[in-house]
Symmetry: C2
Subunit: 208 residues, 2 copies
Amino acid sequence: MVQNMKDEKKRGRPRAFDAKAALGKARDVFWDRGFAAASLDNLSAATNLNRPSLYGAFGDKEDLYLDTLEGYRQDGMDVLTEALDPSLPLRDNIARVYAGALAIYLHGETAARGCLLIGTASVEAVQHERIREVLGRSLNDFDDEIEKRMRLAVDRGELPRGADPQMLARLASAVMHSLAVRARAGDSRETLEAIARSGVELICGSAP
Amino acid sequence: MVQNMKDEKKRGRPRAFDAKAALGKARDVFWDRGFAAASLDNLSAATNLNRPSLYGAFGDKEDLYLDTLEGYRQDGMDVLTEALDPSLPLRDNIARVYAGALAIYLHGETAARGCLLIGTASVEAVQHERIREVLGRSLNDFDDEIEKRMRLAVDRGELPRGADPQMLARLASAVMHSLAVRARAGDSRETLEAIARSGVELICGSAP
DNA sequence: AGAATTTAATGCGAAATGGTACAAAATATG
DNA sequence: CATATTTTGTACCATTTCGCATTAAATTCT
């Protein structure tokens, strides 16, 4: 599974496509249609790869989907940790988290696609154990990252000593989950931004 | 579309099945598999109706799905309004809302199915306008119902005069949305109940 | 240059899918 | 009882679906 990190010349015919770019195109298809409704023809057309190439590079449809989820999770974590820059006040951190999320969720301007994980992996989670596992792990990783910042906030006195960092983090995530669902349900950017602002207020109410 | 409300004898062969019961069985199929992955064979088997009967009674797959969503929305609103009984304190109301939601989301004991709307309609919302419309309307109706109770709480002095009922309601809903997603992601009942408790605390923090 | 190896492209095929035609059955109306 | 009307069940059809077999192309190794 692990490919050559650099272009140490592999034997045989070289790939005529960029696997990472193809994965990005596939992600868009899954994001719009979901896993079940995304056909290999859709994916093949979007990536400009014929099905055998797709299959050879990524495995079957579920493998490909799991790959896109994993990449999305990574990207999301990057955005999250950047938003949580501990040199900024907690309020700003949480506001940035929501702003970053909305930038992703509302991408496209036409019909908002929300969160790839929440919007498309949730459906499959009941019947596909591997997808449920990725979804659960992703949500937990997000919670944990926010929790770290909350813990720091308590230590620093940004939050009262009695505050529960784990629960505050989970509730901060909850607002984000709601933004993801509502974006996909067609709520306006204005509505979502208002909810984000109120969320910051509620979660960080006692912070300076 | 409107059927006879009572059994005023209709001409022709009478139905050999209970449409409402069939709709319930179909709902279970959609709940587990989602719209796209639910095949007419699945639905036919679960309802004990052959495809032509299904089609005759409910229209095509999307019509049937929309019918189940509408029924779910109605049932959900009933549970919600009952939970929000204004003779109880606000805290109890919100706690009951979450308890009622979890009772539905965790149904099955095996793999939790979360919320039918959030869990299965969200995926289709981007491409199917009618589904997006039902999803959006349902979320709004829930928000509005909670908002009414919040407004009452402000009037009664359960919440401070400056509290924003609309935003508090949306955030109360947000916690519920998160419970729906997390249930489907495999979180334990204990975790979900803990989040619900913290949510009540956060939302109703200033209430007696 | 030739063998080995990997990818690309075409196209196939078996199964599943959504939907329907058609005839038989069950009921109300005249 | 005959006719109209609606539902039921079987079978079917056209299309889509996923996945792969096979052959041609491109590159490395000997």
